[in-house]
Amino acid sequence: MGKKFLKFEYLLLFAVFTIATCGLVYELVAGTLASYLLGDSVKQFSFIIGVYLFAMGVGSYFAKFLTKNMLNTFVEIEILVGLIGGLSSVVLFLLFESVYSFQLILYLLVFITGCLVGLEIPLLMNILKDKVAFRDLVSNVFTFDYIGALLASILFPLVLVPKLGIMGTSLFFGMINISIAIVLCFSLKKELKNVYLLRFKAIGAFVTLVVVAFFSDSILSYTEGNLYGENIIYSNTTPYQRIVLTHNKSDYRLYLNNNLQFSSKDEYRYHEALVHPAMAMAKNTKNILVLGGGDGLAVREILKYPEVQKITLVDLDEGMTKLFKTNTILTGFNENALNNPKVQVLNQDAFVWAKSTQSKFDVVVIDFPDPSNYSLGKLYSLNFYNTIKSILAKDAVIVVQTTSPFFAPKSFWCINKTLAETFPQVDAYHAYVPSFGEWGFSIAINSFETTFNTVNRRAEKLRFYNYQFDQFNYFAKDMISNDVEINRLDNQILVRYFDEEWGKL
């Protein structure tokens, strides 16, 4: 009898230890999620700890009303804590975008978890009070409770979040919580009533968590859909980027690595502004180069000039150009430009390709992603522009998308200054694209044979650009920054500017 009782006591104490660990983990998960999603981590953590402790107090108070079937209740509570705590982060993730009162739900979940954990300790002490000396009981229960708390608070930042992530941590601890319940169901079968029902509940809850963990992938993509606020009609991850196409009413949007690439409603403004000034002022437009721009929308604009003989498009990502050659919605946007016989698509690294090509181009349109990291920063460096200069015809024109002069004036003018170091004539201009805001471009001429205001040719039926270049190159005071350095491979100052400026938003 003595031995068996010892087992009983230690089993329950081990349960206390686990409850304490799991309880604190749920609390930390809630705190972390709240501070990530809502900001202001000091406030969020402070509130959550407060609510959690208060809820434990509430739970403890109500424990005195539970007098029947205490052991059964204990196991049931254990299952419930595991289920609610384990699912809490998933629920919070799912609801974040769609629920108006997110905070209410957050604190409700914290409160419920706290209450349940708070119920457990008094309940356990009541279960054990006739079997163990009170002095030992109190001391043991609290010892295990606090050790569990310590373990959780150390593991959480060092191991759990880095290895499992937030969602993984809460699901994992939910499972641990419930497995304790399962163990109790089996090993205390004589002390428990209705043991089969209890086992069924415990195993059912466990299976639920496993299933959720397995489908967390699609749950996340569902929340991703919510993030975009639009219906995702296509998504694909290539070796280089994540491509997502969304549809909402009459608007299609393409996102690359979650940055908006274009909106079908206003992309014509961007692409007309990108292509037509350069095409108009260039002396010749026979041989055109497009770098980046795998969506083919810039190529569509270039093809509006009949004298163009050849367009070479160099885009690293085959997944991207293939998509815009084959998907019917997308070929609708670029008017099947990438399948035009004049167009040659090369899926190569633009910098490496430019260093080796023998061709000379009349117009170069550069439409790279923004310089948000050191790899992309190389494509805006002095060395890159010198490389481009070496593949230009004598009077060539080059145009570069250069981020927003309003949001990122230093980045914008840094690229402009870098171009000015390489080319004899350089200017800048900007256009308003509603889905982006104020957007800008730098343009350079490789000689003095032509000017920015020259219009050698016009395309018909443009919706935005009117061939009045001097209406686009005026910059108000809030879009100018003079104090910038040249972007070189050995300083990559542009990436720092860009990070500083977009990081502020």
């Binding site: 999603l37 990291n373 790899s375 060395n383 889905s435 100052i493």
Partner: protein, 542 residues
């Protein structure tokens, strides 16, 4: 492209995708985790052939050759001498080299993803007064033009690409090599004081108007007052100056090991200070710490110099006997490829090899060589699928891990303009810092590959927990005599001065170990200076 509105959502999204990645990866890994075997190669200097000098059991001479000037050793000093001979119109010279390729410590390896250094891997921008070196860099188009103010404009693609340096400290990467996070005010104050003091040394000149610390070293002032610094160790000097911050000392120790192989407990204070004060950062405005580097390291510079020995060098040839005759020097050389010996008769011979070799070739050299200490080095080049970087600061050219045994690693693809690399190639550096280089050297050749593998992984794991499972290939390169180490009393000592003296106006000496520190600049000047000595002396003779 365009970022528009969405940057502001990035934090939320980041969290979600991070959580997604974390949840998905275990499943993927479970499918992928096969027993990955790592391809392991060990290379190194040809010490087996070199050690035959101890027994001198070579075949009889079966061939004769005659040449005006013979250069023994194809490292930077020998190659630089060949360049100088050519520039001065002397074409009748021959260079012999023990290894399969010339280049010495400026050699490289290559795998399918990148070239990588097998020794020295960068050249700091030369001092403005180092006109000879600047001229060489201009010849090779490393300096493209001189601007209107007379400053050299270096080729952007040959300067280290940003970001250049990071340090793993307190579980995260930070920019630069000095710890910056969580330093005590005392640490900060000592760092400031240290760098102020180094700045003073950098600018200080002796009574003769020369810099106290200059490059090449022989240009330094002969003013005696700083020479006493050569008699104590860097650690002793730091202690005298009350530099006690462990962070600062670890940094200084790192710098000394990086340049001299040995740490502050073992190198002379003069040398330690020279590391910080020798470079004047005056050849270009605002580029204090910029250096020139290439995927293959200084092998690029050796490659430029190689053209001067085209058709004039014999590789895998080991000189084993030198005798001075009335009308010249007779040199016996073992041709390891054809297993035969040849005799080369030269008017003058330049020994552009280290003194631990010369002791076997020339009489009375054994005793001198005892004062020359060479720290062994180990380099490990790894091909990894992913570094598993924690992303706190992006991968840099130089990546140092605080508290590691080695000196960190170089990103060999830093100088590539490519956007993405299928595999990453990094080279890890380790110098054996102890008071007994000979013992370390024995260890280097005695320990097995598992030992070195463990050393490398244990160190890298501090910052990259799963590096071992991500590694596909390791190339370990052992350098028994990695570099001359300036222990106290060596730089201004007798042995070094004696070893540099020509013998009978027939045999001349050039090597960075005769300068006292092992850097490209010293070797480069050693070669030029020895050629001047030979040619100007022979002009006098005739």
């Amino acid at each position: 492209m365009k970022s528009g509105e969405n940057y502001k959502f990035s934090r939320r999204f980041f969290l979600k995708s991070a959580a997604a990645a974390v949840l998905i990866t275990p499943f993927l890994q479970a499918c992928k985790e096969k027993a990955l075997s790592i391809i392991f190669r060990i290379t190194g200097t040809n010490h087996v052939l070199g050690h035959r000098l101890r027994t001198k059991n070579f075949p009889k001479v079966s061939e004769q050759l005659k040449v005006k000037y013979l250069i023994v050793g194809g490292g930077i000093s020998g190659l630089s001498a060949a360049r100088e001979f050519s520039k001065r119109g002397e074409t009748d010279f021959l260079l012999v080299e023990l290894e399969k390729e010339v280049g010495g410590n400026s050699s490289n390896g290559e795998n399918q993803y990148s070239k990588f250094p097998l020794g020295a891997h960068y050249l700091p921008l030369p001092n403005k007064s180092d006109t000879k070196l600047l001229q060489f860099l201009h010849e090779e188009n490393i300096i493209q033009v001189y601007d209107s103010q007379g400053f050299p404009v270096f080729d952007e693609a040959q300067l280290t690409f940003a970001p250049s340096e990071r340090l793993f400290y307190r579980n995260s990467w930070q920019e630069g090599l000095l710890p910056r996070i969580g330093n005590t005010p005392e640490d900060e104050a000592q760092m400031l004081r240290f760098f102020e003091q180094m700045e003073k040394f950098r600018l200080a000149k002796g009574a003769d108007g020369k810099y106290l610390f200059d490059i090449p070293l022989v240009k330094s002032s002969i003013d005696g007052k700083t020479r006493v610094l050569d008699l104590i160790t860097m650690a002793e000097w730091c202690n005298q100056q009350k530099f006690t911050s462990s962070l600062l000392l670890e940094y200084i120790n790192y710098c000394c090991r990086d340049d001299f192989g040995l740490g502050i407990e073992f190198v002379s204070a003069w040398a330690g200070i020279h590391y910080f004060a020798g470079r004047k950062h005056d050849s270009t405005p605002n580029s204090a710490d910029t250096v020139l580097t290439w995927p293959e390291g200084n092998a690029r510079l050796a490659q430029h110099l190689k053209k001067y020995v085209k058709g004039k060098s014999l590789q895998s040839h080991l000189v084993y006997e030198i005798t001075t005759e009335n009308n010249g020097v007779e040199v016996k050389v073992f041709d390891a490829l054809n297993n035969k010996s040849i005799q080369i008769t030269a008017e003058k011979v330049m020994m552009a090899c280290p003194q631990f070799v010369n002791q076997y070739l020339l009489p009375e050299r054994k005793k001198l060589a005892q004062d020359f200490h060479y720290a062994p080095w180990l380099l490990a080049t790894l091909v990894v699928t992913d570094l598993g970087d924690n992303g706190s600061y992006p991968l840099c050219w130089d990546n140092v891990i605080q508290g590691a045994k080695g000196l960190g690693y170089i990103n060999d693809q830093q100088q590539s303009v490519q956007q993405v690399h299928a595999k990453k190639v990094i080279t890890y550096y380790y110098s054996f810092s102890s008071d007994n280089c000979a013992k370390s050297r024995k260890e280097l050749y005695y320990k097995n590959k598992e030992h070195w593998k463990k050393l490398v992984f244990d160190d890298l794991r501090l910052a990259h927990p799963d590096i071992e499972s991500k590694t596909e290939e390791i190339n370990v390169h052992l350098l028994g005599h990695g570099m001359i180490s300036p222990v106290p009393g060596f730089i201004f000592g007798k042995a070094k001065a004696e070893a540099a003296k020509a013998i009978d106006n027939r045999i001349f000496f050039a090597h960075s170990d005769l300068a006292g520190i092992s850097i490209f600049e010293e070797a480069f000047h050693q070669g030029i200076q020895a050629v001047n000595q030979i040619l100007d002396a022979s002009t006098l003779d005739t």
